[in-house]
């Protein structure tokens, strides 16, 4: 019965935890990496599970048993009862001291195990980098160091905790001897019967077992307390960005986007974007470029309201972004990121992921538009092919084409593409760009790109530097102005002529 209660309680903690993490904003995951979170959650869930399944019912049983024994002993013979219970505070004291010594060591062991599992997860995910940089030996050595740490702490923890057995045995044995000696005198004296002394010997043995377990139970409770605290902090975590009480659903009216003197910084006094003002007409394709750290992705993060701005105002179709419900806003904005993330599921289910009411025909249609249909048909089971973790059995370009098709299935009204064609070969880039062009057709869209050839055909190009918009116009106009964009462009195509090299020219023509 307790096992069922424990299983239900653990189930609730895990579902509450997972459900709440799903509600947390992007900012939370920048501060707490998934590796750290999953490592903590796994280890903490383990100690909570131990507390629920073992410690709690044993503590309850031990208390009930000890109280009952004490009552019966006092009913039988109060003098012998006093002799028998003298050992209880002594055993409890021993249990507490051992728990106080071993508890912190066990906790340290848990933290170290967390570090080891985080390192294992990271190295297994980054196996390509490790192999290509010939760092396998380094990874093994570092892992060995960490495991050595676990061994040494674990050794200390278990040695301390194993001390309890001989100590409690000695105290319990002393208690038995005391009961028998005093009992013998009482029998001789006629104050107790032989049967009473025998019963006390039995109670003495019965009582020592739960008391001997007490230090383990105290340690389990201390660990559960520490682990539970971390888990409850996650469960109680509330998003910084919440819908205003009077928030309304976003009503799409073409997709006009206006930034009015927008300031933003991840830290309160360190602005990443300064006084950004621009107006994007419905259906316009805006290319965004600038040096690393210029604020390109940040601009997108605040447009999708992953963060709230510090000052100014963002209007979408004349509606203040801060007064719109986040769900209605994000439903209308599709995002294709540089890292094409796919789930461990079939190709079809990955395509249908972003839209609850799309059909398989919609998905196939989208795959055709995104130029993914042909290669999907070439997979062992076509659309029913099971993708391995993060789509590792596909190339980067294939994964990206599927994410573009997935965005098409969701049919958002506006699109954001953040370096979506990075890390792919020129031929694949052409296919992806063709898919992207269809995806962005007649939609207000933003494309972030380091490779300027990718955004050359945008309606306008926004050039960011140091968090400020330094230029915003069409490619030809920006080139003619010979400003920041011109310098960027020339630095990319240095020695290849202002129009770029042959491959880029071919690519640009192909994508127009």
């Amino acid at each position: 019965m307790f096992a069922r209660l424990a299983a239900a309680a653990l189930y609730n903690v895990q579902t509450d935890l997972f459900d709440n993490v799903q509600t947390l904003p992007m900012g939370f995951f920048f501060k707490n990496t998934p590796g750290e979170l999953s490592s903590n959650v796994t280890n903490d869930a383990e100690v909570i599970s131990l507390f629920y399944t073992t410690a709690l019912s044993q503590i309850l049983r031990a208390n009930i048993q000890v109280v009952m024994i004490i009552v019966v002993m006092f009913v039988l013979n109060w003098q012998l009862a006093i002799v028998a219970i003298v050992a209880i505070p002594l055993l409890m004291g021993v249990a507490y001291v051992i728990a106080a010594i071993s508890g912190p060591v066990f906790n340290k062991l848990q933290d170290t195990l967390g570090d080891v599992s985080a390192f294992q997860e990271e190295t297994l995910s980054g196996y390509k980098v490790i192999i290509s940089n010939n760092r396998g030996k380094w990874a093994s050595e570092r892992h060995e160091e960490q495991v050595d740490g676990v061994f040494s702490i674990g050794n200390r923890a278990f040695m301390t905790s194993l001390m309890q057995f001989p100590v409690t045995q000695v105290v319990s044995f002393g208690q038995d001897v005391a009961v028998l000696v005093v009992g013998t005198f009482l029998v001789i004296d006629g104050s107790a019967t032989l049967g009473t002394v025998l019963a006390f010997a039995g109670y003495s043995a019965l009582m020592s077992a739960p008391l001997a377990e007490m230090s383990n139970l105290i340690t389990a409770s201390l660990n559960a307390s520490a682990g539970g605290d971390r888990v409850f902090r996650l469960i109680d975590e509330r998003p910084d960005i919440t819908d205003a009480p009077d928030a309304v659903d976003y009503e799409f009216k073409g997709g006009r986007i206006q930034f009015e003197h927008v300031d933003f910084g991840y830290a309160p006094h360190s602005l990443v974007l300064r006084d950004n003002t621009f107006d994007v007409a419905p259906g316009e394709n805006i290319g965004i470029c600038g040096p690393t750290g210029a604020g390109k992705s940040t601009l997108i993060n605040i447009l999708t309201r992953y963060y709230d701005i510090n000052a100014g105002r963002i209007l979408i179709d004349g509606q203040d972004l801060s007064k719109l419900t986040q769900a209605s806003l994000r439903k209308q904005i599709g995002v294709v990121l540089q890292e094409a993330f796919l789930f461990t599921d079939t190709v079809m289910n990955n395509l249908l992921y972003a839209s609850g009411d799309a059909t398989e025909e919609d998905a196939i249609e989208a795959a055709k538009k995104a130029n993914a249909h042909d290669f999907i048909l070439g997979l062992p089971s076509g659309y029913d092919t099971l993708l391995t973790e993060r789509g590792a059995n596909l190339s980067q370009g294939q994964r990206q084409m599927i994410t573009i098709a997935r965005a098409m299935v969701a049919s958002p009204k506006m699109m954001i593409l953040d370096e979506a064609t990075s890390n792919v070969d020129t031929r694949t880039e052409k296919l992806i760009q063709d898919g992207m062009r269809k995806l962005m057709e007649n939609k207000t869209s933003f494309s972030i790109a380091h490779r300027l050839a990718t955004i050359r055909n945008s309606s306008r190009i926004m050039v960011l530097n140091g968090g400020e918009i330094v230029e915003m116009a069409g490619h030809d106009e920006l080139m003619a102005a010979k400003g920041f964009y011109y310098a960027l462009y020339m630095s990319q195509f240095k020695g290849k002529g202002p129009s770029g090299d042959a491959a880029d020219i071919a690519l640009d023509f192909a994508s127009t």
């Binding site: 019965m1 209660l5 424990a6 309680a9 508890g103 019967t193 039995g202 539970g228 975590e237 910084d240």
Partner: protein, 76 residues
């Protein structure tokens, strides 16, 4: 609590946090599970009572077979 905080493993001593333990215990035996918990505790009490009475009964039996003992010693 806001999302500004990082939820990381805290090294060092585990301090018994009464609120956390209370919340953990309530999560298992509180709320809608009170009835089932009461039943589980009731069963446990009965089992423990039976276990506790064994040495008592053994002692009584010993009194019967001891020198000068009689069946009357079995009566409470």
């Amino acid at each position: 609590m806001s999302t500004d905080t990082a939820i990381t493993a805290e090294a060092g001593e585990p301090i018994l946090r009464p609120n956390t333990i209370t919340r953990l215990v309530t999560g298992m035996i509180g709320g809608p599970r009170r009835g089932r918990t009461a039943l589980a505790v009731g069963c446990m009490v009965i089992a423990m009572l039976g276990l506790t009475l064994i040495p008592y009964a053994t002692g009584r039996g010993m009194n019967v077979i001891a020198d000068g003992g009689s069946k009357d010693d079995l009566a409470y």
